[in-house]
């Protein structure tokens, strides 16, 4: 019998799985229907919630392997990797998937090294060919795609958010919950403090379905309020180009591009962004791209689905009014 496809749960540290898990579980279930073996969730946490377990079941997990231990929070790779490895060695899943988040990128790398397994990180497509899994990954700043495969199971991969089709929650579908006995090793590293970013009230860049982004065309840090105002109407995150970040207009965590964050929203709106290759690397997998720029020759228009050649200081407020009219209907 084919082994299970495991999905390592990314949560909000308060016992609720993040919505990216709908995508990871959705993809795992789709592949499981071709490869055989159930889609299952593996949840390492200091405290799970009933609602969280229910949610994982509704997203398609047939079973949740729950390891609940105070030593699992805060996340530490040196603690998580041995726990996951022990579970993998006991149960031999055919694949272990994670989401591309800061901690899962790290723990999956540690897990792969511990198991001597292959890891395909930041995958944007998965397919079964001749019974084998093939992963597609963007490489060279997204200029090419690399199709990769594994020498043996377990196949380890991290999936880029907003790319895979999320599972539709089926109410009533419940996962069996197992609490396997595992050894949670003592950590050597210790958390001193957690500095929360001042909340903008807007969604996190990597997870946002709509992203509004600004570049040098904004002319100064004070003008980002124009984009923030538009973003509030859309429930969007606000990003920036490297030029805007290097000029000190926005903190680096807002940078989209090769040396910043990679995003894949349903809708991307770029204002005063020329579209340097290094910026395109971070957003070219967006589903719909809109560019607003004064310069009709700006490279971003080459990959944009819709463009407006014009002054962003006039277009952005006009767009805000139009979106308001539409969304308040």
């Amino acid at each position: 019998m084919a082994g299970a496809i495991w999905c390592v749960v990314e949560d909000d540290r308060q016992g609720t799985p993040k919505k990216v898990m709908a995508e990871v579980l959705g993809e795992a279930s789709r592949l499981a229907s071709q490869l055989g073996g159930p889609a299952e969730a593996v949840w390492l946490t200091d405290k799970a919630t009933e609602a969280g377990l229910k949610q994982l079941g509704e997203w398609g997990a047939k079973r949740v392997l729950l390891v609940e231990d105070a030593g699992l929070a805060p996340y530490r790779g040196e603690v998580w990797a041995p726990v996951l490895a022990e579970l993998v060695q006991k149960e031999s899943p055919q694949a272990v998937f994670g989401a591309v988040t800061t901690r899962q990128r790290e723990v999956m790398a540690r897990l792969a090294a511990r198991l001597g397994a292959g890891l395909a990180a930041d995958v944007v497509a998965l397919a079964v060919e001749d019974g084998k899994l093939i992963a597609t990954r963007p490489i060279y700043a997204g200029k090419l795609l690399s199709k990769m495969t594994w020498a043996k199971t377990p196949w380890l991969a991290t999936l880029r958010p907003n790319v895979f089709k999320p599972a539709e929650a089926r109410s009533g579908a419940a996962a069996a919950v197992d609490k396997p006995a595992t050894t949670v090793p003592a950590p050597t590293m210790s958390l001193v403090e957690r500095r929360e970013e001042s909340s903008t009230g807007l969604p996190e860049l990597a997870e946002a379905e709509i992203v509004v982004s600004g570049g040098r065309g904004l002319k100064g840090p004070e003008n980002f309020v124009i984009l923030e105002s538009l973003a509030k109407v859309l429930g969007a995150a606000v990003g920036a180009s490297r030029a805007a970040v290097d000029a000190g207009w926005r903190p680096h965590r807002f940078q989209i591009g090769q040396t910043g964050r990679t995003i894949s929203p349903k809708l991307y709106l770029g204002f005063g962004i020329s579209g340097a290759i290094q910026h395109l690397a971070g957003m070219r997998t967006s589903k719909v791209i809109c560019a607003i720029n004064k310069d009709p020759e700006a490279p971003i228009f080459k990959i944009a689905d819709f463009g407006i050649v014009g002054d962003l200081f006039e277009v952005a407020p006009a767009l805000e009014q139009e979106f308001k009219k539409l969304l308040e209907k």
């Binding site: 990769m148 970013e197 709509i210 809708l267 791209i289 689905d305 969304l327």
Partner: protein
């Protein structure tokens, strides 16, 4: 305190990258090679740690073909004391795992107190080597660090690691592995003196056998490379700002169904 910095030579961001006649590889003709930008942050941070402590050694390490020596030379010009080049045809097809095994073996042999990495190399963007090396060595690790300080005794490193929604400050006992995120520092440019001095510094070639490693098949391999599917041609929306905005919102709603 001995610090090893793992770097990778990658094509310059602006370089055109084309698939070669072998569909599993790129055509390297005409490519401008650079040190991966995140690795430069790591080199810079290693130099700052050494300068602050007033003693120590910074060793740049890479795994790659002969041309990768140029990248090591750049690190020496920035101020690294010496370099190690894992230069063996057995590593031509090395994946993350085999690379990590080779690097872990060197770090162990050198008895480094700290291993610094870039967050990811900007060619394959895998971003897994640093954490994999830490696991192989049984060391704690922190990825995507934005700040660090080593305590006076050289026993602990305090790092700020970027996570969704904030920064987590951790103390890691040394030896440890950390990876640099942009924002950690501003890498220095090599001075003319540095460039001249780099020519006299040692770059040691190391083979797999020197590390006691046998040739192994990779756990993950490329099936083929593909060009991006072209995006359908876009549409420029004409009109004054108010008209254009109205038409764009309509198109996003009705044609693209994006909102």
């Amino acid at each position: 305190m001995k610090i090893l910095v793992m770097i990778k030579q990658v094509p310059d961001t602006a370089t055109q990258v084309k698939i070669s006649s072998d569909p599993k590889a790129i055509d390297t003709a005409g490519i401008t090679w650079i040190v991966s930008p995140y690795d430069e942050f790591a080199v810079e941070e290693a130099l700052r740690i050494k300068e602050k402590r007033g003693q120590g050694e910074v060793v740049a390490v890479t795994l790659g073909p002969e041309r990768a020596k140029e990248a090591l030379r750049s690190c020496l010009a920035m101020g690294a004391d010496r370099a190690i080049h894992l230069n063996d045809s057995t590593w031509e097809q090395a994946d993350t795992l085999l690379t990590a095994r080779a690097l872990a073996a060197v770090i162990k042999q050198e008895q480094a107190a700290l291993a610094l990495f870039g967050r990811q190399a900007i060619d394959d963007d895998m971003g897994a080597v640093g954490a994999a090396v830490a696991e192989l060595l049984g060391w704690p690790c922190a990825s995507w660090i934005m700040e660090e300080s080593v305590d006076e005794a050289g026993k602990t490193i305090r790092v700020g690691r970027q996570v969704e929604g904030g920064l987590e400050i951790f103390d890691l006992p040394l030896p440890a592995a950390v990876s640099a995120q942009k924002g950690l520092n501003e890498p220095r440019y090599p001075t003319l003196k540095g460039i001249m001095g780099a020519k006299k510094k040692e770059i040691k070639d190391v083979k797999a056998a020197d590390l006691g490693l046998a040739s192994e098949a990779p756990a993950l391999s490329v099936v083929k490379l593909e060009a991006l599917p072209p995006r359908p041609p876009g549409r420029i929306i004409p009109g004054d700002p108010a008209e254009a905005a109205k038409a764009l919102v309509k198109a996003l709603r009705e044609d693209a169904k994006a909102i």
